[in-house]
Amino acid sequence: MKLHTLAHSRTGDKGDTSNISIIAYRAEDYPWLCEQLTVERVAGFFADLLEPGAAPVRRYELANVQALNFVLPGILRGGVTRSLALDAHGKCLGSALLDIDLPIMN
């Protein structure tokens, strides 16, 4: 099952750091998403894009709105102003993360 069916997302940028929200559509799915979407899982998903040596990926929980916030330092490689990337803001990163595969819930 794709994360896309259970959650939505928006990506923000500050300097060369992205933050990606993952928000459960249904409150009852949130604990399970917290269990599945570990820092390691998300860092692994973006392994090719993260800058070697950058600060580690962080995760914050916002239980009242059934959301996780992932902070990915260095992923914008020099930031919006210097980056050679087509999507220098990294705006599309959150949509990419929704492609993550999850086991079918019981």
């Binding site: 939505h8 933050n19 009242n64 709105v65 902070v71 930031g79 102003t81 990337a85 999507d87 990419a96």
Partner: protein
């Protein structure tokens, strides 16, 4: 109990104008706020000011003001509407003069005040260290701007001086919305819980349409009605900073728990410590309650004491980016585009283009997130971009892509090329006392 109504008329410099006019006309507003400064906008505006000393403010300032000023000020049968905006960019004083000129032209008697003090370029010392590890001194003549993120202070002065229109340069985005709440409700500058709640309102509104259904639709998963006529948001706020986010009835878009949650977390790192010049806001326990169609109550924000140092955004020139693109379609498109990519990279090496960094990718295959596509698309577009110290070198990148027409693989079409100067941004921190926000008539 009094309810304050604040609308958001722009989420970035180039934003749509008619939703702001709709808010001014039908929003029954006390304040209309336009947030128009991205990270490097001031640096670009500072360059514009160097070539025109009267320039350096937002290019859409005049058009926006011409459209909304007819609803601003004290008018019979309406709330008094006041405008707050950071469209002054690198030149709030000239921007204010321009707004006065437009008001007179429209036959309006309005008080327009500029907030200055964010420009701290002359305070920088060569040994100051930037967040990217460089010193200010190492930038030499490439340094173009340094602007502190001001808080509410200057805007409070302007509102207490009875301004109808307040024009600022760099001010933290939520502060544009917090200042009118402090003035109308008499909140103290150290009433941290209320400042935290007022900052949440500002944070939710500062990107305009992004909380009212813009940047949200995902057909089949998250649908939004009438996106082409997206309405911009407004907040109805009480004296404790409790607020309902809504929009003008009949406008397109939607305000829901989901739209508010996306915006709550947008550009936030630790939700328990959202730093602004005014307060350390705590969004970690915020929740949203839907009270009706397109009406969402925001609850649970808190606040702690403000940071002692202010963030300063430093703009500097950092070379040039040259870019070229070429499309390939039909059977074998990907293989031909890959060959074209190899050829261009080899050519840049053979002819000795001096580059600091280069990137080559196929749009449609791997340009956004690396090679993840499992299907071959019908068409792809080669994109080669390089950062060079000299403009003349950057020009050669796009030229080399263009030569694929007669020298590269078969069937390339739609070449384009561009060169742009890199205006980079770094930051440092200054003690609050070093910065002096004030109004200028």
């Amino acid at each position: 109990m009094k309810t304050l109504r604040i609308g958001s008329g722009a989420g970035y410099s180039g934003d749509r104008i008619e939703p702001a006019v709709e808010l001014a006309e039908h929003g029954d507003l006390d304040y209309l706020v336009f947030e128009c400064l991205a990270e490097r906008t001031i640096a670009l505006a500072q360059q514009a000011r160097i070539s025109d000393p009267q320039g350096g403010y937002d290019p859409l300032l005049s058009e926006r003001m011409r459209r909304v000023l007819p609803f601003v000020g004290v008018q019979t049968g309406r709330r008094r509407l006041r405008v707050i905006t950071n469209m002054g960019a690198a030149n709030p004083v000239s921007a204010a003069a321009e707004v006065r000129r437009i008001a007179v032209e429209l036959g309006l008697d309005l008080k327009v005040l500029a907030v200055v003090g964010d420009d701290v370029l002359t305070m920088l010392q060569p040994e100051f260290l930037l967040d990217n590890g460089q010193t200010v001194g190492s930038l030499g003549e490439r340094l173009i701007s340094a602007n502190a993120y001001l808080g509410v202070d200057g805007i409070l002065q302007a509102l207490h001086a009875d301004a109808d229109v307040v024009i600022t340069g760099r001010v933290a985005d939520p502060s544009l919305f917090l200042a009118p709440q402090m003035v109308e409700f008499g909140w103290a500058a150290d009433d941290w819980p209320r400042l935290g709640r007022g900052t949440l309102v500002g944070h939710l509104l500062e990107c305009a349409g992004q909380v009212s259904g813009g940047y949200f639709a995902d057909p089949g998963f998250k649908d939004v009605d009438d996106l082409a006529r997206l309405g911009f948001p407004l907040a109805e706020i009480d004296a404790d900073g409790q607020a309902v986010i809504t929009k003008v009835t009949g406008s397109g878009g939607r305000v829901s728990r989901a739209t508010c949650t996306e915006q709550l977390i947008y550009e936030v790192h630790d939700p328990a410590a959202y730093l602004t010049p005014d307060v350390t806001a705590d969004f970690s326990r915020v929740c949203f309650v839907e009270e009706g169609a397109d009406r969402v109550r925001a609850q649970g924000a808190g606040g702690r004491s403000r940071p002692e140092r202010l963030k300063v955004s430093v703009g500097y020139l950092d070379g040039w980016i040259g870019e070229g693109q070429m499309s390939y379609g039909g059977p074998g498109a990907v293989a031909r585009a890959q060959l074209a990519r190899d050829v261009v990279l080899k050519r840049l090496e053979l002819i000795g283009v001096k580059m600091q960094d280069v990137r080559a990718e196929l749009i449609g295959m791997d340009s956004l997130h690396g090679p993840r596509s499992t299907v071959e698309p019908w068409e792809v577009r080669l994109r080669v971009a390089a950062r060079c110290e000299e403009r003349s070198e950057a020009v050669r990148v796009g030229n080399e892509v263009e030569t694929l027409y007669t020298n590269g693989p078969s069937g390339g079409g739609g070449a384009s090329k561009s060169v742009r100067q890199v205006v980079a941004v770094a930051s440092l921190l200054l003690p609050r006392d070093a910065v002096n926000p004030r109004i200028e008539a």
